[in-house]
Symmetry: C2
Subunit: 429 residues, 2 copies
Amino acid sequence: MVDIATRVHNHNWKIDPIVRSLIDTDFYKLLMCQSIFRNKPETTVTFSLINRTAEVRLADLIDEGELREQLDHVRSLSLSRGESTWLRGNMFYGKRQMFRPDFMEWFEGLRLPPYHLEKRDGQYELTFEGSWPEVMLWEIPALAVLMELRSRAVLKGMGKFELQILYARAMTRLWEKIERLKSLENLRIADFGTRRRHSFLWQDWCVQAMQEGLGAKFTGTSNCRIAMKRDIEAIGTNAHELPMVYSALAEDDEALAQAPYQVLADWHEEHDGNLRIILPDTYGTEGFLRKAPDWLTTWTGIRIDSGDPAAGAETAIRWWTSRGEDPAQKLVIFSDGLDVEKIEELHRQFRGRVKVSFGWGTMLTNDFRGLAGDRLAPFSLVCKAVSANGRPTVKLSDNPNKAMGPKDEIARYKRVFGVGEQAAMDVTV
Amino acid sequence: MVDIATRVHNHNWKIDPIVRSLIDTDFYKLLMCQSIFRNKPETTVTFSLINRTAEVRLADLIDEGELREQLDHVRSLSLSRGESTWLRGNMFYGKRQMFRPDFMEWFEGLRLPPYHLEKRDGQYELTFEGSWPEVMLWEIPALAVLMELRSRAVLKGMGKFELQILYARAMTRLWEKIERLKSLENLRIADFGTRRRHSFLWQDWCVQAMQEGLGAKFTGTSNCRIAMKRDIEAIGTNAHELPMVYSALAEDDEALAQAPYQVLADWHEEHDGNLRIILPDTYGTEGFLRKAPDWLTTWTGIRIDSGDPAAGAETAIRWWTSRGEDPAQKLVIFSDGLDVEKIEELHRQFRGRVKVSFGWGTMLTNDFRGLAGDRLAPFSLVCKAVSANGRPTVKLSDNPNKAMGPKDEIARYKRVFGVGEQAAMDVTV
């Protein structure tokens, strides 16, 4: 039986909204937002879309009117009662609420601030300017909207059965990956793929496939909306934007050198010692760890997000050992450039030596390579803080191809953080 | 929105019926039924299920109660008004109704006769006895029920995502076949897969995929229900059961030798010279054509249904040429053991020399080889007339592995029809 009411309702949609909830975002954005809301609420920042894959000409593929409709729809969203309840119910080990009442009250009243959109050279210049805790929440929905509009643009010309086969192939591909991962003993892996997903429904399918295929080896998703909907754990800690903005705000070189540690000191205090994962690569992992204060060695673990991941993990292990910590008690989270081969390799190399966990992103939620030619292949789109209180931000990372910021500032940061030669690696996703 | 009424309705089903319509059957069964109804209505026949793939132990896989429920459901079916209208509206080139009013009136009142079911050695013995025009209509629903109950038995243990991936793989496989077939110029291909289908819904999907993928190269389906539902042409002519029963009824060797030609004389008269496709292999193609009366050479074409198909087509071409007919004006329908490679090969070999058409069966609607291990692989199940008016039927075909009947009768038929050595070929489907 056709449900006539549903059918008529569907006809009444003005658009098919891509982002339908303010918590269709990464959990760590909310954790960071709360920290910023408390510690740096007055900071003014600019976030900007950056397409590192120039050959994907987004402004040629995506209609500007459709893009504006989607972004306007995001601005119309506010936290629902159920979403608020779910956020308030998230606890640290059942002991303390993750989100404080003052933050929740602020979040419940929030609408996302305006955006600025222009076309240039076949690309969209999309920027967001304003108060840091508000603007930073644009990152994930902006990426999700652009990624999915690009998918829709490619899918538009395809027939019903072509579409069915396209998804049949993508599903089969992911399932074969899951079947390989299933055999890895003590695997712990989470979905980190919101920002690069092919579409919302596809990410939701991928999460369900991971649930059924991997059981307890699948530890959760970074996407709050899907975590809530599918009754699984929301996963996340912190990201580069914290040290990038803290560093941009530093008044001199000395303050700059201390900024990344100040981030983690605030973080520690904010969360009463929970969520203690170090992200050391913003200005070079080696230097960060060498100069790190002793209290950081007691943290739970490290997330490796750029450079050669095995080398990064070995560096972390050496550091813990040199500071008298037992690496076997520490957690290493790999979250950059992962696919099944790499996961198997890292799992083999590090299991038993440290606690290993994987945050699987693009190749989980957007592996459409070779399907529809390469017109649906993932590409490298980010949305980053480019300035804070009028000063440019800088990111070096462990891969010079991921470096961001004005040339002279990059040089200054390299000097201050003692970053020497770095091995360049392709940034594909 | 969940359609609550639909959901509640679904809960009220006692069974999920496999065959839901008397015209969920092959078109040629109805054409033959009409011919039998007119020419041999008093004949008593026995039809019997024969599983040529002994290692598929159907009685171990399929619950007897479920099988009986499905067969009882088939017995509860009668022709609906819309089905009757559709049948009455089928015309020969817009000139004459295919189905005569007296036949339609009889068919509208029909319920299928009782069945007899027993278990033996891990197999079901399923037989139907009674008036030929009634009993013969059991063939396709009986096969469809057993094929689909076997599929269901295997699928029962699979999870939701396993199932989705299973069908994703099967869909991708068929679509890749269709993409290959698409490039064959002037291809004409129809679905002949009802009797060996994985399930009704799967056959229906396969037909839609052929429609979208092949366009005008897809000429129709043998399944009346799907032809009606999908607004495409129903395809079919005649089958071995006519010469088998006519031959069993023959009083002596002389009458036996003439029986296969008598079938076609009746057929010709029945259809006013339409649907004139010769099926020559029941007792050996070579002998049948050699001794054929001249009026048969003017028929439209030949269907090749056993033996080496290329050899069969070459035999037909030689025969037409020797009788002064132009093979280029004749139709050759290949309908045995087809998959893409074979279709490509035959298309290459015969296009331009004759009009070529393909009736694609098992490997269209049931290619689940290697999916779910081989537990869903197609197998060779048939339902045949084994006796008529108390006398055993015999089939020789162009492949001794497809021969049927008592040993002494096979010897007698070989003598009467002058069949010598035959090349044995595996019967897989």
